[in-house]
């Protein structure tokens, strides 16, 4: 039996559906499901520089939870401080900018929103470098050069306030998205509602507090959960700005996983750190799914009146 007719037979059995969905399914399988399975397997090994599969059971997890690794406690604390700082920054400043800029003249509002959209439009390396350079400890850093020019001595920002700078750099990256989502949600609030409140003598603050913000309940909830998930997994900007330092002061969980694997070459231990993150993501996503429903997750700008 020649091989070519057999091949044709198989191709004729394939329907259009296989042809259209096959590549995407293969991709998803290869780059999402296989890596998760690989991470789970690797977390049970003591894989090091030699890349040998040396299975050691749950030893990595024991090391993580028993306190055998003295850094873990500090890293958990850093992660909590980082998320607890960046999340309110994102939601609070995002809300502030969208509320104020929607109240302004159209062009002025657009201009302010453009300024805060820049972080998302420029490459991560440039955003990271911009922060590292602006807050450089010598007199050549942007803010230090202002201080020196005014007669103060330069401040070593990245050693004195490393966490604050990392939180702001990530928080304002979140602001750029939250601001856009809130702005389009505010635009969807019926004018009758705010007009009625204004006629009754409500101030701008009262209109925001009692009319607009309650209507933005779902966009705010979606953005909160969205950024919560994004912040617990984000490590690239921390790596670019402080590298986790000085001495692990800004090392967050996901960055520790990266460092364990690609700096210390403990691939097994790094995988167990990532597995914990994967589990945290699964739990958070489940909560989001139950609390918000798929429709609100997909269309965060919808205002339900």
């Amino acid at each position: 039996m020649p091989r070519i007719p057999l091949l044709f037979f198989f191709i004729s059995k394939l329907s259009g559906l296989h042809l259209f969905l096959g590549p995407a399914t293969c991709f998803v399988f290869l780059f999402y499901f296989v890596p998760v399975a690989l991470t789970a397997l690797m977390s049970l090994t003591a894989m090091g520089r030699t890349l040998d599969w040396e299975f050691i059971g749950t030893e990595n997890y024991v090391r993580l939870f028993s306190g055998a690794d003295p850094l873990v406690l500090g890293i958990v604390r850093n992660t909590i401080v980082y998320v607890a700082g960046a999340l309110p920054t994102t939601i609070g400043v995002g809300l502030l900018i969208s509320l104020l800029s929607m109240r302004m003249r159209r062009t002025a509002g657009l201009l302010f929103r453009a300024i805060f959209f820049i972080p998302r439009a420029i490459p991560p390396v440039v955003w990271g470098y911009l922060w590292a350079w602006s807050f450089e400890g010598t007199r050549y850093g942007v803010f230090n050069s202002i201080l020196v020019g005014l007669g103060f001595s330069p401040i070593h920002w990245l050693t004195r306030y490393p966490m604050l700078i990392v939180v702001l750099a990530n928080g304002f990256l979140g602001v750029s998205l939250a601001m856009l989502v809130f702005t389009s949600a505010i635009a969807a609030v019926p004018v009758d509602y705010t007009r009625a409140a204004e006629v009754d003598g409500a101030s701008f603050w009262q209109v925001c507090r009692y009319v607009i913000i309650p209507l933005l309940k779902w966009p705010i909830a979606t953005m909160t959960i969205w950024h919560l998930m994004s912040f617990i997994n984000s490590y690239v900007y921390v790596m670019l700005i402080t590298g986790g330092g000085p001495y692990y002061a800004t090392e967050v969980w996901s960055l520790y996983g990266y460092h364990a694997a690609f700096r210390d070459f403990q691939y097994g231990y790094g995988s167990s750190l990532v597995m914990i993150l994967v589990a945290a993501n699964a739990v958070l996503f489940f909560i989001a799914w139950k609390a918000l429903g798929i429709r609100r997750l997909l269309a965060p700008t919808r205002v339900e009146v």
Binding site: P35, P123, S234, F285, I294
Partner: protein, 276 residues
């Protein structure tokens, strides 16, 4: 009195945005001057010094490289990644929009779930996967791995484009004897050219901006723009002028693309920003 009412608004937003304006302005001016004092006051014109990398080699650790080699690598990487996203999403988006099959709702929900899942944390496993597939340290391998992060949302996006085409067009083609693939190729692809451009540029831009995949999976051997900037930051003696100039050069192609293709790009949902 009416005019005065707006003043506090401008004041608050002005104060919040002031540090950022200083940072952006300092960065921009630094690219064209020798030194910056008092934050935003440039001193001396340093264009030929800062932009000298365009005709002179750039130090990379102990070695040297040229900007054109780095630019070509980045174009190849971003092009391969954007192309992969476009082809895969155009195929899958058609099926999810036009063909009825069991498990369609599940497929769509799965893509959303995967979009919410941060692909960047699986880097260790992707490193091994590429190692076993013998694709580690190669541009195509890493570009394909990078494309996988954008595919879930891309499928939703392209499905939206297909949904917008009236079904009469496709039905009449099928009555005339086209099969599914011919309908896709001869009817939909020509109709969806703006959509195709949008998906391609969207995938291209994310790959162009990508840092961590490139830094980890293509270290040193293949130089890209993002790793070039990181390498320049890592050398302590580097003058900030050169860095600002290289960064501007790096940001120029995406900005140009965006300005020229703004209309097509506006169809892209903003939730795509997931690089954090």
């Amino acid at each position: 009195m009416r005019r005065l009412k707006g003043v506090p608004l401008y004041l608050v937003l002005g104060l919040v945005s002031a540090p950022f304006l200083v940072m952006y302005l300092a960065f921009f001016l630094q690219a064209f001057s020798e030194e910056i004092s008092l934050g935003v006051i440039p001193r001396g014109i340093g264009i030929s010094k800062n932009f000298g990398f365009l005709w002179k080699p750039i130090p990379w650790g102990l070695e040297r490289t040229t900007i054109w080699e780095v630019l070509l690598n980045t174009l190849l990487f971003a092009g391969a990644s954007g192309g992969t996203v476009t082809i895969i999403c155009l195929l899958a988006g058609y099926a999810l929009s036009r063909i009825d099959f069991r498990g369609k709702g599940f497929m769509l929900s799965l893509q959303l779930l995967l979009h919410a899942f941060p692909g960047h944390i699986l880097l260790i496993a992707i490193f091994f996967l590429l190692f076993y597939l013998r694709l580690l340290y190669t541009i195509p391998g890493v570009a394909i791995a990078r494309a996988s992060i954008e595919i879930p949302l891309g499928i939703w996006m392209v499905k939206g484009f297909f949904d917008a085409v009236p079904s009469d067009v496709e039905r009449s083609a099928m009555v005339d004897g086209c099969n599914r693939f011919q309908v896709w190729q001869k009817i939909f692809l020509p109709l969806l050219k703006p959509g195709m451009a949008a998906v391609f540029i969207w995938g291209f831009l994310f790959a162009w901006h990508e840092f961590i995949f490139v830094y980890t999976l293509l270290p040193g051997t293949v130089r890209l723009m993002s790793t070039l900037i990181e390498a320049l930051v890592a050398t302590e003696v580097m003058p900030p002028g050169l860095l600002a100039a290289v960064s501007l050069f790096y940001m120029l192609p995406p900005l140009t693309l965006f300005v020229f293709l703004q209309k097509a790009l506006l169809k892209v949902p903003i939730l795509g920003g997931k690089g954090m």
